[in-house]
């Protein structure tokens, strides 16, 4: 029973965390992309436009919930939640401090990699239930892309399991050594790139390619349902950033106590910013090129990393 209460509490906490991360993330992305593009970005509402996203959210919540006449209504309604929920769930296994993760499970790595993959079903359903050619193409593209990038992404974190001898994120964080950073450099690059691709963010935003598919799988969504897709995107960005920061850079081992948590937050923000930076600098890839990168470049790189770590581990 207490497990259930704990689960509900952390489920809500993850939702709130994502909502806050989305609010700040959207604001920061708009400011950051503004700086890249010689613009100012939001500035009217609140200090430095910080409340702009809140105002946008209120507007989105108040908007009419439009469901196209040709859509499959039930599936159309559920799809955004199927996209959002798994990403929110993945946040509970992340170590947020030394010795603390909301859900301390012995299969944490597996959980973090496998559960968000469920959201691809929601994306496909969204594309399919809209009964719109653009949305259908976007949904199918998304499915192909997310499944392809699962593999290099999972392979890129497997070296931790070899090095720490455990799939429990807390054990990995505890066993972290500074020389893991140079050793896992290839894996980190693979993790970062495949995380961006997994999130359908630029330069891998083919499923929602604005110039081709208008908005792809969520072309027919508006108001709060559209906002849930956006929340899922920023939630995924948050998850990728915090997980990467905690595992690859070991902030809790570098600095003890609260200082480690501060370092962890800073590192997460830097990782999220790097992922935004890529979006605002690079053009979009083509579907076949995207698959080529996943299977011909990232997967072999991740395998090389795995072999490298495998060769080092017996000497420890």
């Amino acid at each position: 029973m207490s497990g259930l209460v704990w689960g509900v509490v952390w489920g809500l906490a993850a939702g709130v965390l994502i909502a806050i991360a989305a609010l700040i993330g959207v604001w920061w992305e708009r400011k950051f992309s503004g700086a890249i593009q010689m613009r100012i970005g939001p500035q009217e509402l609140g200090p430095a436009g910080l409340l702009q996203t809140l105002a946008d959210t209120v507007k989105l919540v108040l908007k009419e919930d439009i469901i196209p006449g040709r859509a499959d209504v039930t599936v159309f309604r559920i799809a955004p939640l199927i996209v959002f929920a798994p990403i929110a769930m993945s946040l509970v296994v992340v170590p947020y401090a030394a010795g603390f993760a909301p859900l301390d499970t012995s299969v944490g790595i597996l959980f973090f990699m496998a559960v968000p993959a469920v959201s691809v079903i929601g994306v496909m359903l969204a594309g399919w239930s809209s009964r719109n050619t653009y949305a259908s193409i976007g949904g199918v593209r998304a499915a192909a892309q997310m499944i392809s990038y699962e593999l290099p992404r999972t392979l890129s974190v497997l070296p931790f399991v070899l090095l720490a001898g455990s799939m429990r994120p807390l054990d990995i964080v505890a066993a972290w050594q500074w020389w893991w950073v140079p050793l896992l450099a290839i894996g980190f690059v693979v993790y970062l790139i495949s995380s961006v691709a997994e999130l359908n963010r630029g330069p891998f935003d083919l499923p929602e390619a604005e110039s081709e598919l208008v908005a792809g799988y969520f072309a027919d969504y508006s108001g709060i349902r559209w906002a849930i897709f956006m929340m899922a995107e920023y939630g995924g960005l948050l998850a990728a950033a915090v997980f990467g920061a905690a595992l690859f850079f070991g902030p809790f081992s570098l600095l003890p106590g609260a200082a480690g948590v501060v370092l962890f937050v800073i590192l997460s923000a830097v990782l999220a910013t790097v992922m935004m930076w890529a979006k605002w600098t690079f053009p979009r890839m083509r579907p076949d090129q995207l698959m080529g990168v996943a299977w011909k470049v990232l997967t072999p790189m991740a395998l090389v990393q795995l072999v490298l770590v495998g060769a080092v581990v017996p000497w420890l």
Binding site: I137, L206, E212, V214, P283, R284
Partner: protein, 381 residues
């Protein structure tokens, strides 16, 4: 053609196999149709098997409207032809009127026309390159290019008070002489523009993803370019060295030293790159023109308000940012044109879309359409 398109169509392939194709209707209102183009695309998976442009959504009957206006009143109409490069339509029309009615043009006016048209070429190419970027997802390039375009538009605003439809070139000259200090502003712009071009070149054309997206896509052979009547950067991207400024010199262009950039492969990358290099050449022409310009009248004095050319016809063409833009005028001796016909380069270039897009992916189609740089005001007229 009904607007409602069936989304599936059974098609027999060359091997006699019947397959289902997905029919996607792109446009007339779509982020990358550059206005109001509609393209019906037949898809086999992601591969385009057929792309059929449907034009006419911006048809306003400008050629017909011209028949009911005096020669001077037609100039503002020509602004609405190619609204990304209004100066060209103004000038092409005025050249035809001047040829028809034998109107002399002062030398200073010719220099001003060259300067505004080369500035217009920069503005138009910035729009084209920026759209190439937006079509392939590089939104930052789009903003950079539009920043440059904004500088040109501000210069035009200073010169004639308008930002889009200038009505600047008039039969017998131009509407305003340049204001004080304008020449220095233009010089400052061309200097800054060169470094901005270099930055865009590095940001976009040097990028490995851009090369992957644009190289080898929508290849147009030199023979095809000639056969289809392509002109401007579309033809020059295929290595056809044909530019009216050099090969049928008009105005004061023979006095300037400039090169015609040409591509080699005829793909989207070369077409876009040719536009970028043309901006450098335009800067060179503008600087030379400003140096050579002498004081004098900017329009022929004593021209009547109502021009009544002798009966006959005249055709004249100029090199616009999109290619050979020609205006054919027939006069019956009255104060209104009997017939006006515009030879639109954007229309001829757009006709290549089905040929170029076939066999490429849906993502490539928008890149190809962007690389042809159609402006629908001119296509539909």
């Amino acid at each position: 053609m009904p607007l409602d398109v069936e989304s599936r169509e059974a098609v027999e392939t060359a091997e006699g196999e019947v397959v289902d194709e997905l029919v996607v209707n792109v446009g007339p209102s779509h982020p990358s149709t550059h206005g109001v183009c509609r393209v019906i695309i037949h898809l086999d998976g992601e591969i385009v098997t057929r792309a059929e442009p449907v034009i006419g959504y911006l048809h306003r009957g400008i050629e017909k409207m011209a028949e009911n206006r005096t020669y001077l009143q037609v100039v503002p109409l020509t602004d609405r032809l190619d609204y990304v490069g209004s100066m060209y339509s103004n000038w092409a029309y005025c050249r035809s009127v001047e040829r028809l009615a034998d109107i002399p043009v002062p030398e200073r006016a010719e220099y001003l026309r060259v300067i505004v048209c080369e500035l217009q070429r920069i503005a138009s190419h910035m729009m084209a390159i920026g759209s190439n970027g937006a079509d392939t997802g590089a939104l930052t390039l789009f903003v950079y290019a539009f920043d440059q375009r904004e500088h040109v538009v501000e210069l035009f605003e200073e010169l004639c008070g308008q930002r889009l439809t200038y009505n600047y070139v008039r039969p017998g000259g131009v509407s305003h002489d340049m204001p004080e200090g304008w020449a220095d502003d233009v010089r400052a712009f061309t200097a800054a523009h060169r470094s901005a071009l270099a930055e865009m070149d590095k940001l976009f054309f040097g990028n490995v993803i851009t090369r992957g997206r644009l190289k080898g896509i929508g290849v147009l052979s030199a023979d095809d370019a000639v056969a289809w009547g392509a002109s401007g950067p579309v033809a020059r991207g295929s290595g056809v060295n044909w530019d009216l400024r050099k090969h049928d010199p008009y105005s004061v262009y023979p006095r300037f030293d400039f090169d015609i950039p040409t591509g080699t492969d005829g793909d989207c990358y070369d077409r876009a790159r040719v536009r970028l290099y043309e901006c450098y050449e335009s800067c060179r022409i503008i600087e030379q023109a400003l140096a050579q310009m002498q004081p004098g009248p900017h329009r022929t004095e004593g021209l009547p308000r109502l021009i009544a050319p002798p009966p006959g016809d005249a055709y004249d063409h100029i090199e616009s940012a999109r290619g050979a833009l020609g205006v054919y005028l027939v006069s019956d001796g009255s104060t209104r044109p009997y017939r006006m016909k515009v030879r639109s380069p954007a229309f001829c270039n757009l006709a290549l879309l089905p040929t170029l897009a076939e066999g490429h992916m849906l993502s490539d189609l928008v890149a190809i359409l962007g690389s042809l740089d159609p402006v629908f005001g001119e296509v539909d007229r």
